[in-house]
Subunit: 257 residues, 2 copies
């Protein structure tokens, strides 16, 4: 039996934090047919609020070191401000949005990252996504809007990477759905030539990916993103799309299969 | 057919904002049997955050004047910080909590309060509670944790009085349940003698209430609270209980019937 399609869109902070791009995104997202989930970031707003409160934002490899004051900031910004503005905006467009963190209905549980070289503080590594609970909501026409926060089951919220939340959710949901995971980036997709924004590689399988890496065409920050994309494919996700937020739902970008 | 019981607890900011009282409340709330909803405040934390951000908190008759910056503050504090800490805390106690604002699944829609003598700004007056949606959740064992925020259906969040959110929710839910609405106050209940904390009036009906008012025993700030309680009774709520947070679920306090 063919599974129903589920589209999971991940958008970064930049898109959801500026009124114009947020408005466009909500409109585009509202036009996607069928079941869907939105996973959002909010890092820039968190940094801005922390700055106003005199809290220093420490980043290591793009990850936020989360002490207890910073955890309060991200809980407010991701779970409150950004999440609820998206929810209210989508409701006005007829999308039955429900804002969630991992703690809500225990949908995403994580473990505080063990301290090795770096103490990331209150940062969670995802351990379990309750796909059955999300399915129950989705089958009732509800559209989950997921903030990048999970919990440890012991009463603590944990700051959690939005890309990882989206990937783990996509992998877990592939038990029930034909899942398409869409990452929105600044560029239109994976480029053949980094200086030519229109040189998008339309489709990538593992073999051609490895060839492009050997030839030096794909390199740098795109490598971990694509490694994660192939990992999601191996774990049952039907396709991973890398595209621009302004092009979601248009079948453009790079499709990893 | 007898309706199932539903307990709706409203707690103010003071209780949920201090670690010790919050911990006690979550424990007490977790022991309440049957279906339940928690409606919480968070005003003190909002005032504290506003102060740190250099935003003046203007109050009129205990209501917060909500300009657009203040709306951001309450959306962060009520919908993010306070709500998610309660949710994570209850999950650790085995309660399947789900944090909600009125925008989530469109459960509580309101209208921006019209400007008469005072412009309250982004403050909502509740227009509709979707009792059927809340029932669907509750019947699946989910415990809604409601922040004092609603939305206007046009994309805007609105700051909304927690007492009113609780009362309107109780009235709407009484179509499906035998609803007990519990307001947690500083005192143990409605007192015969305001200087004697143990002089709690155990039960109040409309006739005895009117007698006590005439005799000057009940006066001041308790009057609007009790008027609202009787209004809820008239609109189908089975009982309204006024008690201390430390005594919820113990059958104490003043019961309005």
């Amino acid at each position: 039996m063919a599974l129903n399609k589920l589209t999971i869109i991940k958008v970064g902070g930049k898109i959801v934090e500026e009124e114009d791009t947020l408005k466009q995104l909500l409109h585009d997202f509202s036009t996607i047919e069928g079941s869907k989930i939105l996973v959002h970031g909010g890092g820039r707003s968190a940094t801005k609020l922390a700055e106003r409160l005199g809290i220093e934002s420490k980043m290591v490899d793009g990850r936020r070191i989360t002490d207890s004051e910073t955890l309060q900031v991200v809980t407010m910004v991701y779970g409150g401000l950004v999440n609820k503005n998206i929810v209210a905006g989508l409701q006005s467009l007829g999308v039955n949005a429900l804002g969630l963190t991992g703690a809500d209905m225990d949908i995403i549980r994580s473990e505080k990252r063990p301290v090795k070289d770096i103490d990331y503080g209150f940062v969670g590594d995802v351990k379990k996504v309750k796909a059955d609970v999300l399915k129950l909501l989705i089958d009732q026409g509800i559209v989950p809007i997921v903030a990048p926060l999970s919990h440890d089951g012991k009463g603590h919220m944990l700051n959690t990477n939005a890309d990882t939340m989206a990937a783990e959710t996509a992998q877990a949901m592939s038990e029930y759905y034909d899942v398409s995971l869409v990452y929105c980036f600044e560029k239109k997709g994976v480029l053949m030539d980094e200086h030519d924004d229109d040189s998008v590689i339309p489709q990538l399988d593992k073999a051609s990916y490895q060839k492009y890496v050997q030839e030096g065409i794909i390199q740098g920050g795109m490598l971990p993103k694509l490694e994660n994309a192939f990992k999601s494919i191996e774990k049952g996700v039907s396709e991973v799309v890398i595209t621009q937020a302004s092009e979601i739902g248009k079948g453009k970008g790079t499709t990893i299969i």
